[in-house]
Amino acid sequence: MTVTADTDSEFAVVRPGVTLTSLSAHIGDTVLRPKTPRWWWIGFLFSLALLMVLVIATVWLFVNGIGVWGVDIPVAWGLAIAEYVWWIALASGGTIVSALFYLTRSPWRSAISRIAESMMLCAAASAGIMPILHLGRPGLFYWLFPYPNVMGIWPQFRSPLLWDFVCLLCYILMSAMFYYTGLLPDLATMRDRSRRRWQQIFYGILALGWRGSAVQWQRYKSVYYIMAAIMAPMVVSVHSVVGLDFAGGLTPGWHSTQFPPYFFFGAVISGIALVILLTVPIRHAYSLHAIITEYHLNALAKIMLTGSLMLGFAYFWEAFGPYYGSEVAERTMFTERAFGFYAASFWATIALNIAIPQLLWVPLVRRSELLLCLIAGGIIVGMWFERFVIVVTSLHRNHIPSEWGNFFPTLWDWAILAGSIGLFLTLFLLILRFVPIVSISEMRELIDCEGPG
């Protein structure tokens, strides 16, 4: 059974009545219209305010050092690391939708791939700042690069932390190229539709003179397939290596071989959740009901449910391991995680990521935008708690009882969280204003396949 088999008869991927002309006009106008809608300004000012919080919190952090956060021994990895993992998982979800489901030729992927990829770039920016903020001396982050230096030394290539840096850097560069390649034909459409001078120049330069000739399309198709085929294993590796950061440590609760796939499952569920949370409002704001239909939401909901089941599987083994094995520290830590000071965070994780998403088995829930958004929002919060639980509760009951202790986030910890959300939203709203948020050229192919509209 395919992901969307049961809805084929009820809902179309593209509603009848969408033509090549109306599609280009509709999507083009969302970007080229002279008047910026009010909802955009409200959202943008709100995001900008949050971004200012990030600026202030970062300046304060750089001036005073990471002592302004709640991190201390034993919990020396705090919210910055938890949020790094959280953001990179959200980013990975975007690539999963756009690359993995391109290879499976899923028809619902076309209308939402741009949303997913834009989300990926913005979330990767929020993820990328976290490790740098967490460095005690952020000015020296370039020591991670293997550059010839007067000290004559090199980075430690055997360390998962360095692998992670390499992964993130490659991921962002590759995603940018993948994004731009997919965008190129749409930029040409924007160039040809724009009537104002600055828009013609802006989109004209970005479109590189794309003409859509037969040879160009042929090469476009081959390179896009190749890129998708490279991006799909790449995104699996990115989040798996984040898992290795933890698995490489001896801390109870981290030192586990299941971490790479476990983290990837988390990326699937939380990334799809964020795609849903963005798609639903965009669908209404830009009146995209004809091309983002119930079919898409239903497909996304099913993948989210699958992600939830995979994650539940990983949670089960995470709990099973300590009690089956004979490591006392593991057992102490896990008992403390589930019933100790941080028990509420642990059970919030289970409830929001595993229990509540089971509602998605009911077709009625998958059809309700409101319920979908609530469940997706719950998952995003739940995944934040999961990262918090993994990072903090593991460290707070380490091997030696004399170093046990709790972690209390400070105001500056929360400011960084709020600020990173501000950075994400600001970038995303800018993309929403200047980039066609639906891949028009791919939608044209879909309309062509579905018969004349």
Binding site: T19, L20, T21, S24, G28, P146, G152, I153, W154, P155, Q156, F157, R158, P160, L162, W163, V166, C167, C170, L173, M174, M177, F178, T181, P185, T189, R191, D192, R193, G204, L208, G209, W210, R211, G212, S213, A214, V215, Q216, W217, Q218, R219, Y220, K221, S222, V223, I226, M227, I230, M231, P233, M234, S237, V241, L244, S441, E442, R444, E445, D448
Partner: protein, 178 residues
């Protein structure tokens, strides 16, 4: 100032079916300097007008190999030749630990090679092309299908080409100069 040289004759089709039929007939009659400009990849056109050469895949493969070599070499050279450090008695060439970064460099080089090869293969960036001056060419990226028969073709004959284009449903046929 004299008029710019004739680039070719362009026909504007409202449907993909028309342009495919016209391209097929022109191809069958021996025309080789043809190009189609469409808002999305129209299936048979790449077979009729495209060039099937595996060079894109070959470039990506070359990028893959170069990336794998560089990614691995930087690590092994730094960690076991230039500045060997004994860490926990592990071998200097602890290759399993080097595979992750080497893999990332491999895929980065592969994708970059594909991206660059794509741009070069499409002759991009190219900000001026004679077809941009054709009447409604801005609709080639939206909802119209254009077929251009270039004057460079030895069989080029404006009247005959115009007839063929019109017969297959071209709503407008005009010369392109530039």
């Amino acid at each position: 100032m004299s008029e710019p040289a004739l680039h070719g004759l362009i026909g504007e089709f409202p449907t993909p079916a028309g342009i495919v039929a016209a391209a097929r007939q022109l191809g069958d009659s021996g025309f080789r300097h043809l190009d189609a400009y469409t808002p999305y990849p129209v299936k048979p056109l790449d077979e009729l007008l495209g060039r099937r050469r595996p060079w894109l895949a070959v470039t990506v493969l070359a990028g893959t190999l170069v990336g794998a070599f560089c990614g691995y070499f930087v690590q092994i050279w730094a960690a076991s030749i230039d500045y060997p450090i004994n860490i926990g008695g592990r071998p200097y060439d602890s290759w399993p630990a080097f595979t992750v970064s080497a893999f990332e460099m491999t895929v980065l080089f592969a994708l970059t090679a594909g991206f660059v090869a794509f741009l070069i293969g499409c002759r991009l960036p190219l900000y001026y092309h004679p077809v941009f001056t054709a009447g409604e060419f801005d609709r080639a990226s939206q909802d119209r299908f254009f077929l251009c028969v270039e004057a460079a073709d030895p069989r080029f004959d404006a009247e005959r080409v115009g007839d063929i284009l019109r017969r297959h449903g071209a709503e407008r046929v005009e010369p392109v100069r530039g």
